[in-house]
Symmetry: C2
Subunit: 229 residues, 2 copies
């Protein structure tokens, strides 16, 4: 059975990716991060989903991105809600964490090399992607090229490492439909950048807005609780 | 003054790189890692060198590469000494840490993006490089391409991030000579994979062997203490 490393955040996208990888016959090694995010709810969700998906191993890596600062997701900066003016200087939102996917993929690469896996899955998406630079197809392709030069397999020329991004060309509605076909229980997932203590999602941040739009376009109701609902 | 992020391990190579970057007029932001290495002496050395070099800021990031395993530098595996048979299955030594430079550069990228720096310096070296895949010129070039797609600057097309590897074409003797021209005090550095409690270097591991050979070829005596001397 071929092994795959899946970056699992506990959100809608990565949960769907785990189901897709499993459907493709991979044995799943899930990787999550405690990276100084404002709340632990996504790690709780990741642990639930890892168990439901029947992963072989779930590793939570501790890394501290707060040491650098620069994002509303790790710093004491307000998470923008619908109608807020974007308070960053460009079209890239303030919730962007510098180099986050690059760091996450690099840990996935270390994990993959250690367990002799040639397949890494990541739930990035070029359509409903919040404007983050490290979610684009060109970026993933360049990462794969670099990764093949970084590792034993690349030196020996024996194997090729692949970065799979099966959601790249799907919109949120498409992702949800694909996940439901594969039996994903979206009530177990969480996407909100700024949930209430109760666990209810805010319904107002970028992540909630995209998620709710996806369920609506798919003609479905999101099964998770929202503060505003 | 242009800012540069320097990966500073406290070893001979990265210390020379810091001196080169300073000589080129950069304001230095040094980045070191506590990554589950077997000893903290290299972090002590990094802190000393950061101070001597007059860096603007020195960040030590905590990351746990032991979660994945697979290297003599982070696991409970013996560090090979001169004359040992290489106990890995290929020409890549067991002291190789999977994806280490990829992870280190990814943190440097996050740091650089946060402080608005377009320049990252790393002390890799294609000649006396111990056979690690992530020390080759092709790897560094591919990393730079990926990094420019990963970040705000890449999206906006306003700036170009450069990964500087000024030691790439030098041998150890050449590195030492260049450092001495720039006033580096090599007695402050440490390279050994397996030092004694006293801080004395083993003189037998790959890192010591390369270092001693470098000083010898430069016609100099290494100023640090060795167990065998």
């Amino acid at each position: 059975m071929k092994k795959a490393v899946i970056l699992l955040s506990g959100g809608l996208d990565s949960t769907t990716v785990a189901a897709i990888a499993k459907d493709q016959g991979f044995e799943i090694y899930a990787l999550s991060f405690r990276y100084g995010q404002r709340h632990d709810q996504e790690l709780d969700a990741a642990a639930r989903i890892a168990q439901l998906t029947g992963v072989k191993r779930h590793v939570i890596s501790e890394i501290d991105l707060r040491a650098f600062g620069g994002s509303a997701l790790t710093d004491d900066i307000s998470v923008p809600k619908t109608g807020d003016t974007n308070n960053s200087e460009s079209d890239i939102p303030i919730t962007y964490v510098p180099a986050r996917n690059t760091i996450f993929l690099s840990f996935a690469l270390a994990f993959a090399e250690t367990i002799d896996s040639q397949d890494i899955f990541i739930g990035v998406n070029a359509l409903d992607y919040s404007g983050y630079p490290d979610c684009r197809p060109d970026y993933i392709t360049a990462y794969e090229t670099m990764a093949n030069l970084a590792t034993r397999a690349g030196v020996e020329g024996t194997q090729k490492l692949t970065i799979h991004s099966p959601l790249m060309e799907l919109n949120k509605a498409g992702i949800i439909k694909r996940g439901l076909e594969l039996g994903v229980d979206y009530s177990m997932t969480t996407s909100c950048y700024d949930p209430a203590e109760s666990g209810a999602s805010c319904g107002q941040c970028d992540a909630c807005t995209l998620r709710l739009k996806g369920f609506k376009e798919a003609g479905l109701t999101d099964p998770i609780p929202y503060i505003t609902s």
